[in-house]
Amino acid sequence: MPETSPFETFAHDADIGVRGRGSTLAEALANVGMALSAVVTDPESIREVLSVEIACESPDPEILLFDWLNALVFEMATRRALFGRYEVEVEVEGGVLRARAFGEPVEVARHHPAVEVKGATWTGMRVAREGGSWVAECVVDV
């Protein structure tokens, strides 16, 4: 079986889908954050000079994904920042997500940011266990 990458973006009409995988829900959510960064720039180009704490809560994993991505969109927009690494913890029972996002302010000459992400959507929304791993994905509006 071909090895699947922990995060990826996929084509969707005028917009882009983001997908993260992991052995836990927390890891899949961290990786879908990486996919969100990849919509804007090459995540490898992002240095770690700042970190932001993020928390959201919903017993519904899909709403949790929606809120998590939109929290990241908000932080990226208001801090003019890009994030290249995430530490995520999820209490699956209560649906509480606590995370830290690490990154740096946008530097246009180095990051060549392609597009701003406007927000996560319900389209293509899926948070599920597949085999032994978790997958979290949806389409983001750009």
Partner: protein, 475 residues
């Protein structure tokens, strides 16, 4: 789309007869070729919207309709104030995204020797792309004044001229905006984004009037072949996105609470006369004002640049349209004049001649309908018609939409080649992001000319002039 699902009412009108939960028919305005090329999802989305409570006459799709979140992009639907709903999915994320066109009193010949200087100066002056900030910092009461005042606020602050206002929908100020319905997060996203272009398909473009299709209307609009105009395509920036995102989340619960059965979460809506509906309308109207203020400030920045590079220029507003809105308008419904909540998502308001909401100098001709192309391709000026007022609640197309995903575009083009190729054709591109240019390559979009031709043949609006780009500033 499968033609056997539709009943052809006339050459350019295709009906989806009501079935299942549909309360009204679906109605597609398009040529046979455009209907065949339409995404099958448009059928599903038009049908879903036809099932929403209080919808009147028909759930409509403009000739450029394509898949969208909940409602199709290019979707038009009007709802009864008492029985109907308001839907964030029926407005879209980029609330009041729109196009503004200014005449410059320059000809192509005047511009040509200064073209490069103008491109460079505009690129320096117009904040564009990811991470850019505007000149204005807003907080507290000043933010509230902007949210209530729109372009009128901007003019009072010295950004533009009082005469600009009558050439903007709503006189530049959307009434009944409620700043108290706006979250702190939305405010935070707007603090320093007034007067920024954004990214994606947004642009500021210097264009030439290449063809005139309707001499009388062109004269009334002050356009002649060879004239140079400036067009600005952008919206309410992060503010509108935040309002849209929050509504999408909140309306899922509101719909359930009010017993509205939704086949798609993205159709999220609330009754017009409900706490949630009024909350969204109040915030959405603030976002309309943000977009109007934003385009007004960008106009001011452009005037400064034109004034220094080409002092003989004089930028006057032709018109400013918004193509993602929900507005209260009076239309004929079931033979009577009634107030309805018209949702236009990726559809341009196109009021016909004689409409009392138009300024005196445009009333005889109809409203200018501004249709944006993409970098390197044509844009159009149309005018509203009486037949469009009856057929589509005074609505027309808004653009052409993508023919290819960003992924495909990135595989096919690189930004530098796109810029060089366009420069060979005399079009100067200035953008902070070459990847963004590749994703927005002209070949990744459908041809807008076919869409406007069909819009005219369907009677929704009439072609006045075709515009071609000379300088494009991309976010």
């Amino acid at each position: 789309m499968d033609l056997s699902l539709l009943r052809r009412r006339s050459e350019f009108e295709w009906a989806i007869e009501p079935r299942g939960k549909m309360r009204v028919p679906g109605l597609l305005f398009a040529s046979e070729a455009l209907v065949r090329a339409m995404d099958a999802k448009v059928y599903e989305q038009v049908t879903n919207v036809a099932a929403l409570p209080g919808i009147r006459t028909a759930s409509m799709a403009m000739p450029d309709a394509h898949w969208g979140y909940g409602f199709a992009v290019g979707g038009v639907a009007a709802f009864d104030p008492d029985e109907g709903v308001v839907s964030a999915g029926g407005v879209g994320f980029d609330i009041s995204c729109g196009v503004r066109c200014l005449r410059t009193r320059l000809t192509r010949a005047d511009l040509e020797p200064k073209k490069k200087d103008l491109a460079d100066a505009l690129f320096r002056a117009i904040p564009a792309g990811v991470g850019s900030r505007g000149r204005i910092r807003l907080s507290g009461e000043e933010m509230d004044r902007m949210l209530r005042g729109g372009a009128r606020w901007a003019v009072e602050k010295g950004f533009g001229e009082r005469g600009d206002l009558e050439r903007i929908e709503e006189g530049g100020q959307m009434r009944d905006a409620r700043p108290e319905a706006v979250s702190d997060r939305a405010r935070a996203r707007m603090r320093d984004e007034v007067g920024t272009l954004g990214s994606g398909n947004h642009y500021l473009e210097v264009q030439e009037v290449k063809e005139v299709h309707d001499e009388a209307a062109a004269q009334a609009f002050g356009l002649s072949a060879g004239d140079v105009v400036l067009s600005i395509h952008c919206g309410s920036r992060g503010f509108g996105h935040q309002i849209g995102t929050e509504a999408l989340r909140e309306m899922v619960d509101a719909g359930r609470k009010h017993g509205i059965d939704l086949p798609d979460r993205e159709l999220a809506c609330a009754p017009v006369r409900s706490k949630e509906g009024e909350h969204y309308l109040g915030a959405m109207r603030c976002a309309i004002n943000v977009a109007l203020a934003n385009r007004q400030v960008l106009t001011h920045l452009s005037r400064e640049v034109f004034g220094s590079v080409l002092p003989q220029s004089d930028l006057t507003l032709l018109y400013d349209v918004s193509h993602n809105t929900c507005k209260v308008e009076t239309h004929e419904v079931d033979g009577k004049r009634r107030e309805v909540y018209v949702h236009r998502k990726g559809a341009t308001r196109a009021w016909g001649p004689g409409h009392p909401g138009l300024p005196d100098r445009l009333r005889a001709v109809g409203q200018p309908v501004l249709i944006g192309g993409t970098m390197g391709t044509s844009s159009w000026v149309l005018t509203g018609t009486e037949s469009g007022m009856r057929a589509s609640f005074g609505s027309a197309c808004h653009g052409a939409g993508r023919s290819m995903s960003r992924h495909q575009a990135l595989k096919q083009w690189n930004g530098k080649q796109v810029v060089e190729e366009l420069e060979r054709r005399g079009i100067l591109i200035r953008s902070p992001s070459l990847r963004g240019v590749a994703e927005e390559a002209p070949g990744a979009y459908k041809d807008v000319s076919e869409v406007v031709e069909v819009t005219e043949k369907a009677g929704l609006a009439r072609r006045v002039a075709k515009l071609l780009p000379i300088v494009t500033i991309k976010g």
